[in-house]
Symmetry: C2
Subunit: 374 residues, 2 copies
């Protein structure tokens, strides 16, 4: 059982879920409140979590929407308060973990929730939240180790909340929990991890340890993602994809880029209900094509990590990988149309991830990226 | 200015030394006690530290020996107490930083110092030490970010002290401070960093993020160490070697190996006064030869990181690098003889690093390693 301490204490391996009571005890808490989603309640995974907990939790919120919203977090927060809970167990994919972080902020911070957002320079107002243990059930978001949460606010903006206080105190990464993930969700979440690794490597922020982790995560994802998609019961592939996801989030300590800027902007369009990882996968090749020759040394290292020949077309290689994984080839194929862009472009430009893109990105650049990806 | 948070908050770049007052203020301390060595007092670097501090420190201990001892740490501890200090600034190479950690333990822990040692399972007795800021002046040890300190005890043992409490709260890595390091010391400390990276990668402990950082650090060291040795004023080379050192220590979160076991055992022989980094450099090729085919996948990745052809002889490549760097080719050349071994071998076997060697190492294996390296 690997116990790794960087930003978070992480217990990582098949069977790690059984460590949950010990981890909670180590944090000195006794009344955890579980945040999860309807899918995990339906497919029996929530029951496995509850069984691992031993004693019943203080309460459960199982209504996390596909893209977490301020309203849902507020609802969970009432549940938390009513239950007299003293800690949080976030169980699920990025949505459940981010919703748990948002709920944690709400139960420990007064005033309007939106003021804590990164676009309002809200990080300085963020203090401690209740002890949070994250138990991911997908391999992609890396929210179990990241200092961020992305939430759709009441005013419609998709806002990022960032603070070291939002890094879960502990993560339990048990690849067993991902064995039943369907192929398309495996592919989409896996490409989310891949995008984290690649955008983090390309970010101009100087952070060689994070960059090394990103390169390793990208190498791991390209070696194992297709196997995990082809055979969901392939335990080695599931282990490595959960690790790639973990590494992606450690890597993006140095920032993300325009793929995430555009993905967040489109992800907030309610009627489309677009999956974050799928959006990233579809946009990534086009963003890479636009970086072009601006980051030659990093492209050399990325090609090496991805097992490509020197000088190979990185953008095309990712597009080919998407095709082999059965992911859509364009935003149009996901239901996005030209009409969606005017209302989204400003959100992309003002997204936190835009600040650390490989090359400076303004509205015109985003217009081009959207057009290419459409 | 890169601010990187993994185990330690690290401010890293030319000119970072100027951030020292801000970092101390951020930690809420006002009376730092400086721990350094006679060389840095003589060559003027200590004056630069004091100038950067602005206000005079509570006190200075500048008598750190080449290999830190319990006696010297006790002397520094009296100075610390007499000065009414509230924090520690460790300024120097591994010796000053490790002595500062030992002093920190002494001023905050009652009872015999030796009981806190790793061989006595003393980590569980280690609580908080005064806030410690590390400012390295060599590129090798990585003690500025490591949870360990190595100290020669009164009874003659070279003991390792390990605890997350010994990770400095902040590190200030300013390559400017290494511009004047003489070629041989640059080479020896640089190979210490290289050994950390390689032994950490080879350790069987599962920790992919640390392994990725180790591979990146090894690649960096092989690219830049010769340049730093050839021209000490090469600022790029100095930057990268300080980074390789930092990465080596992040990497050895997953453990070290027999090179360090043997190096610690020989480093405690008082009359020889052997340099830790030089010992590591000399022993490393022989240890790699003994690992042989036991870790084929890791050897593939190490060869790639070091820019070697597939199937190249890794041990020979390190021996060749040592030669180009002007380092000794054998322990004999350093003054070690057969007669030193009987008194040292038990220390090697019982060294903490032995537990995580690439292949299990017993007394016979150490006999062979010593014989090869002699």
């Amino acid at each position: 059982m690997a116990v790794m301490n960087y930003l978070t204490q992480c217990t990582f391996d098949f069977g790690a879920l059984a460590q949950l009571p010990k981890v909670l005890k180590g944090l000195g808490v006794a009344r955890p409140f579980v945040v999860t989603d309807p899918g995990l309640k339906a497919n029996g995974l929530l029951d496995r979590l509850l069984a691992a907990l031993g004693a019943p939790p203080a309460g459960v919120f199982a209504d996390t929407p596909a893209n977490p919203t301020e309203a849902a977090a507020a609802q969970a927060a009432s549940g938390y308060r009513a239950a007299g809970a003293d800690s949080i167990v976030a169980f699920g994919g990025g949505s459940s973990m981010d919703l748990a972080k948002a709920m944690g902020l709400m139960v420990s911070h007064d005033g309007p929730f939106a003021r804590l957002g990164a676009s309002q320079r809200g990080s300085r107002h963020i203090g401690a939240i209740p002890p949070l243990v994250a138990v991911p059930t997908t391999s992609g978001t890396g929210s179990e180790v990241s200092p961020g949460a992305v939430v759709i606010l009441e005013d419609g903006r998709k806002e990022t909340f960032v603070s070291p206080r939002l890094v879960p105190l502990a993560a339990i990464c048990d690849p067993e929990l991902t064995l039943g993930l369907p192929p398309l969700l495996t592919a989409a979440t896996g490409m989310d991890a891949m995008t984290h690794c690649i955008e983090a490597v390309l970010s101009p922020v100087v952070h060689p340890p994070a960059e090394a982790i990103g390169l390793d995560g990208a190498e791991r994802a390209v070696l194992w993602l297709e196997r995990a998609v082809k055979d969901g019961r392939d335990r080695d592939a599931r282990w490595h994809m959960m690790m790639a996801s973990f590494q992606g989030a450690l890597a993006f300590a140095k920032g993300l880029g325009a793929v995430h800027g555009l993905s967040h902007a489109l992800g907030r369009i309610k009627e489309l209900k677009l999956h974050h990882g799928t959006l990233n996968a579809v946009i990534l090749p086009h963003s890479l094509a636009m970086v072009g020759d601006a980051a030659p040394e990093k492209f050399v290292r990325l090609r090496r990590a991805l097992g490509l020949a020197p000088g190979a077309d990185l953008a095309q290689a990712i597009a080919d990988l998407n095709a082999r994984l059965g992911l859509p080839a364009s935003l149009s194929a996901m239901g996005v149309g030209d009409a969606h862009w005017p209302g989204a472009r400003e959100y992309a430009v003002s997204d936190l991830a835009t600040l650390t893109n490989a090359v400076p990105f303004d509205v015109e650049k985003y217009d081009e990226l959207f057009k290419r990806a459409l």
